[in-house]
């Protein structure tokens, strides 16, 4: 019997701590697949954020660095300047990147850092049990917006890709989703392009991935993928927002 699909070598063999149907498992597996395919395990350093994916380093068999909440773009900058020929990527959630870390991501983009940013957007704060995120949709209920996000008090969801595209230092920005096998394949291509951007020293790349949080969206996994397709993409349209090609 020959295996035609099995666990990537760079993905550590362990059950994950993520909730059933959480998108993190899919995205981390894609990163591991790319590391395997490119053979770059020994020259890749990843950044783990604060949030549900704080334990991302338990799943990827590469050198990894923790960062304080929101600071992966700064920490990654510090690492990339020491190892400019290594692949450095940061993995962040919506609170990490678009709330507390907003200044850091904008300035990393502005400096055109040759770093790939993987932005997992599930429009909620999972780890801290379900509060509003900067990307929570208008009307979406959360632990701090019990009657639904109300713009007059809570502001609007932030479109990070569009925001960063204005900065000259940003080179490749794409928004994808993992709601279906086709979309997951597109996500993998986008992450690969992010790595390619870094390899060719073309500057800052960011891939925003619309991902589910079934628990705090109060849905089952299948419904949550539908929510992405039908609701999230209306606020966060999929596609390439900026490209160097």
């Amino acid at each position: 019997m020959q295996a035609i699909c099995e666990k990537p070598e760079s993905f550590i063999d362990t059950p994950t701590h993520f909730c059933p149907g959480c998108g993190h498992g899919i995205v981390l597996r894609l990163i591991a697949e790319i590391i395997d395919a490119w053979g770059i395990r020994d020259k890749t350093i990843g950044l783990a954020p604060v949030g549900c994916s704080v334990l991302a380093y338990n799943y990827l068999d590469i050198d990894m660095c923790e960062a304080a909440h929101g600071r992966p773009p700064a920490v990654a900058t510090g690492i990339k300047r020491v190892h400019p020929d290594h692949f450095v990527f940061a993995y962040q959630g919506d609170g990490d990147l678009a709330a507390i870390g907003m200044a850091e991501i904008i300035h990393a983009a502005n400096r055109g850092e040759h770093i790939t940013f993987i932005f997992v957007n599930n429009a909620i704060y999972g780890m801290t049990n379900g509060q509003m995120a900067p990307t929570t949709l208008v009307g979406q209920k959360s632990a701090t917006t019990l009657s639904g996000r109300n713009p007059s008090n809570d502001g609007y969801p932030i479109r990070v890709c569009e925001l960063l595209s204005v900065l000259e230092g940003s080179s490749y920005i794409e928004r994808v989703s993992i709601s279906s096998p086709e979309n997951i394949r597109k996500t993998k291509k986008a992450i690969e392009k992010g790595f390619k951007t870094q390899k060719e020293k073309r500057g800052f790349s960011l891939i925003e991935i619309l991902s589910p949080c079934p628990i705090y969206w109060r849905m089952d996994a299948i419904e949550s993928m539908k929510y992405i397709d039908e609701k999230m993409t209306r606020t966060f349209p999929l596609g390439i927002i900026k490209d160097w090609e």
Binding site: C65, E66, R81, H107, R111
Partner: protein, 363 residues
């Protein structure tokens, strides 16, 4: 060869000499000379200079470069150091070496831009969260700034711990002759614990997170053992005119310079004035102070604050002799005359009475 440099510039050049090739900073008075100097000097030695978007970003860039095995430094002043506290806690908790320079200014809040020593608590008691310590070194001259910044990198690597250089606006901005006598370091050996890409080895993780029950307590014990080693080996201080001193001044940094002037003027008095100048504020020279407190009539702590190091002196003395305090806050700098008046006030009356009138004529 001696150069005339500000303390800030001397700190920057000393860092370059020590092999620091990654500097991340943000402008704030009174340490701007340091970041300005680095922006020119770092590219000259093919290092990295980034003016970061904030002090928070800068300390996190330091975290990254330290994790990746580089010698790295940031500098700021009081309010900016407040911003860095989370980052410093993370650096200590991840056992990462680095050098942080604090050129103190008046506080609290926005305060002012002149010298103060009101960040002692923040520096020594750990302004960030958790049970950690940073090594704190306090220069009192431009030459000493250069020497201590250089040593700081070696200490940081030796113990895998952040080292804080505690200066102030005066030492940072005054210009004195300075000589860089130590070896110009380049091509330093790689650190076996650093993140360099997992080539032919198991991968490494740099982190401070220990969520599995019991692990964090074990890790904290490891840190405490490290701190005990540092306390045993790295105490630094200077003692001036200490033999049979009646009054011992305890002061660091700029306050110590002024106290040295008091000691120089003290020949006029019938009692001896000595000075203990802690150079390492952590580890604190508690043992030496305790020893001296058994022989002195009293001690007088002089600080540009409302009394912070005072508490550590009292802890070290543990009641063996009275410990008095003279301080100026909010950018005020004590004069030697003020300190002498205080000494005369606290010394027993039968010794002081004659001296007061005599001194009053001396300008």
């Amino acid at each position: 060869m001696k150069q005339l440099l500000t303390g800030n510039e001397a700190a920057a050049e000393a860092a370059i000499y020590a092999g620091c090739r990654y500097y991340y900073g943000y402008p704030i008075t009174p340490q701007n000379e340091l970041i300005n100097y680095m922006s020119v000097r770092m590219p000259q030695v093919k290092g990295t200079f980034i003016q970061a978007e904030s002090e928070i970003a800068a300390i996190n860039m330091v975290y990254g470069s330290a994790a990746a095995g580089g010698r790295t430094m940031t500098s700021s002043s009081s309010p900016g150091i407040s911003l860095k506290q989370e980052g410093i806690s993370y650096l200590a908790g991840s056992e990462l070496p680095c050098v942080i320079v604090n050129i103190q200014r008046g506080g609290p809040g926005l305060g002012d831009i002149s010298a103060s020593q009101a960040d002692y608590f923040q520096s020594v008691k750990g302004g960030g969260h958790g049970d950690y310590r940073v090594i704190v070194l306090a220069p009192s001259s431009v030459q000493e700034m250069a020497d201590l910044v250089y040593d700081a990198f070696d200490l940081a690597d030796k113990y895998r711990n952040p080292v804080l250089i505690l200066g102030d606006a005066q030492i940072g901005q005054l210009m004195e002759p300075v000589e860089f006598k130590k070896e110009f370091r380049e091509n330093l050996p790689q650190k076996e614990w650093a993140l360099t890409g997992a080539k032919n080895r198991n991968r490494k993780i740099i982190k401070s997170f220990y969520p599995v029950k019991g692990e964090l307590e074990v890790f904290n014990a490891k840190l405490q053992n490290k701190y005990k080693e540092i306390e045993k080996n790295e105490v630094r201080y200077e003692a001036v005119n200490i033999h049979k001193a009646d009054v011992i001044l305890v002061a660091y940094g700029t306050s110590a310079r002024i106290c040295k002037e008091v000691v120089r003027k003290s020949h006029q008095f019938k009692f001896r004035i000595g000075l203990i100048r802690p150079i390492s504020l952590w580890p604190f020279p508690s043992e030496f102070i305790r020893e001296m407190s058994e022989r002195a009539r009293c001690m007088l702590t002089v600080e540009m604050s409302a009394g912070q190091m005072l508490e550590d002196v009292r802890l070290a003395v543990e009641g063996r002799c009275p410990v008095h305090f003279y301080g100026r806050t909010g950018g005020g700098v004590p004069t030697s005359l003020e300190i002498i008046k205080k000494i005369v006030e606290i010394m027993p009356k039968n010794r002081a009475a004659k001296t007061l009138l005599q001194f009053a004529e001396v300008k």
